[in-house]
Symmetry: C2
Subunit: 385 residues, 2 copies
């Protein structure tokens, strides 16, 4: 079996599984806010995990707050910035290729708080255009409350110029929230050197338990309570901590840190695979292949062959992919992200997303190549549109 939907969700990492099996048999279960010794042991475990993770993502431990994952992280950060924005700041700059959670949340602030959205332009490769962003800065100046642009697109794997964006934001003194959900655990990221003000992570994307994640804030005092509670996470995120999840998150990100040198091989194997597919089928399109992408993501289309047909055929080869973001995998149209990239329906409805992790390499891509070659050969005879 090849599970090739790591951008959707990663299976528990082998080291996480081993850890959990031992963890389950302990008696270290307690409310980490209780002062009895079991509670304190749990609490100290969380703090140790915070340090371990902070080292991997290169932030200070007190810049990192645990939560249930990136959707909460996004909601929390937008709430912290927009609910408390000065009255004169009513512009939010975003991009047309953000994950669904961002436009959904921004719609709330648009409809109920009077914020105005400005979309930065992207090029045909799906990369945010810096000159478009600069124009928006010049146009709106001091009235900009926030820039929210992702680090890596979840569908295409295309890496955005988030460090340049951060620099520009600093220059114009505008806060920058960078949705790093698809970057952390899949590519190099340093919160400190990136210059971004806010970032997020989801545990289930990096092989940790579901329902865990964190936000990072350059100036944590700017975060406000969104999930209310007691003193947990310094009062910034209420609720008894998902400590078992937090522990697996530290293990998963440490595993990534140890093995991230493998990303180079993964990237080479992927490029070889893509090149061979395009050689065999000159019609094949790999979205975003002219620009830097995540090591293990290919958004591939055989124009005229429906992505879902390919997905189903791949399943019979025991290979699991999606046709777009997992969250909107059941929509047979061209995705909003691809539409924003001016990709036509012939290509757009044909895409499959193959997303692998640093545990994969040549062997997996050879198997994918074999399967896809036989599938495209078969299906091109009976093109679906």
């Amino acid at each position: 079996m090849i599970y090739a939907d790591y951008n959707g969700s990663a299976p528990l990492l082998p080291v996480v599984r081993e850890y959990l099996k031992k963890r389950i048999d302990t008696e270290i279960y307690a409310n980490p806010n209780a002062i009895h010794s079991i509670g304190q042991k749990v609490f100290q475990g969380i703090e140790k995990c915070r340090e371990v993770i902070a080292e991997v993502v290169e932030c200070y431990p007190d810049q990192l707050y645990f939560n249930s994952g990136s959707s909460e992280g996004v909601s929390h950060i937008l709430f912290s910035v927009l609910e408390y924005a000065p009255k004169n700041k009513n512009i939010v700059i975003t991009s047309p290729i953000e994950h669904a959670v961002i436009p959904k949340a921004l719609k709330f602030y648009q409809e109920r708080r009077g914020f105005k959205l400005e979309m930065v332009d992207i090029d045909d490769n799906g990369v945010v255009l810096m000159n478009s962003l600069e124009k928006l800065f010049q146009k709106h100046g001091e009235t900009i409350a926030l820039v929210t642009i992702m680090a890596v697109n979840n569908e295409t794997g295309v890496i955005q110029p988030y460090e340049q964006i951060a620099k520009l934001c600093q220059q114009y003194r505008v806060e920058f929230f960078c949705d790093t959900t698809q970057l952390i655990g899949k590519g190099d990221f340093s919160f400190r050197s990136s210059g971004v003000d806010y970032a997020v992570c989801s545990g289930h994307k990096v092989g940790a338990l579901t329902g865990t994640g964190f936000v990072m804030a350059k100036e944590p005092t700017k975060l406000k309570s969104h999930v209310f509670g007691s003193t947990q996470e310094k009062g910034l995120r209420g609720g008894t901590q998902h400590y078992i999840g937090v522990e697996t998150l530290a293990i998963a990100l440490s595993d990534f840190q140890t093995h991230k040198s493998k990303l180079k091989n993964l990237s080479e194997a992927r490029l070889k695979f893509e090149a061979k597919m395009k050689k065999t089928f000159p019609e094949v399109v790999v979205v975003g292949d002219k620009v830097p992408r995540l090591a293990g993501t290919s958004l591939m289309s055989y124009p005229g062959i429906h992505g879902q047909a390919v997905q189903i055929e791949l399943e019979s080869h025991d290979i699991f992919v999606t046709t777009s973001a997992a969250c909107s995998d059941n929509q047979p149209e061209t995705s909003a992200v691809l539409k924003a990239m001016a990709i036509n329906d012939d290509v757009g409805r044909g895409v499959i997303r193959i997303s692998l992790s640093y545990s994969h390499g040549d062997k997996d891509y050879l198997q994918l190549e074999d399967a896809l070659t036989s599938i495209y050969t078969k299906l091109k005879k009976i093109k679906s549109f």
Copy 2:
């Protein structure tokens, strides 16, 4: 060892541990929103769990939405009702004995949305007074946006007249959110017959994984997105579902359902224990002992002997308790809840909270009695205040 902090957090139930050990070795890990067969298997698992849980708490499956736990549930429900309340409704009725998350959240709506809080009176046993509530209804009439009163107090275990409150709310056509965090999995609760409009549950309180829980809503369309996202949980709670947590929640609540007849024995064993302690030490006070309480909760005080001293001594007997709510366990003063009950500092600073589950019985209480008897005998000679 006796872990006696079930009101703070429950250890993973034995059935949950067994389940997880097997679960970890499967390959059923995927984004439940992906349409490939692994994703769909995960998704169907979640829906099955929703049905199982809905049967235990007696609601319709589509009235139940998974989240990260009760603090999120409280934040979500208050947001849904108060953010979207008609302009003329600006009164929130609550009680002085709510869990910290409620006043914290209400403070936000008070300060930033102009809501006014009205406190219902409680009696010396810590029970909400129905006539006080009715007076508030008569005073504020149509301007009441919400009543938020808990089902069971987390410190004392005192059960509130939440079904009567629900009836009165219906009579006055006011929505009623009942914080059921300490009731579900510890006592009888039927969402349907309770008459409450909103309720919540935290998985870690019932022996499931941390970071999981749910809200219930009589009319789910009244819930609004608080954690934004895609189509998860019918668009009402974004974020890739904590499906492993959800699975353990279904197992834990099923286990409760199977074994809840044991609560009677637990309650009898507790009453015997409390009676014997009071017989040996006539000074001993059990808070709320004149009214119905949770089967396994005793908030006990030897006036003049500091609760923390007793807590520490109990640890040397391998017994783990708290001195109040776990969330504020490190505050040596009389808790806000006890102050609201007009309990003096002599008693208030002396309390320890012993909270057990339906897996406990006579044997545990005998051990507690032995330990506490020797501790009180020792410490009363050197009273701390």
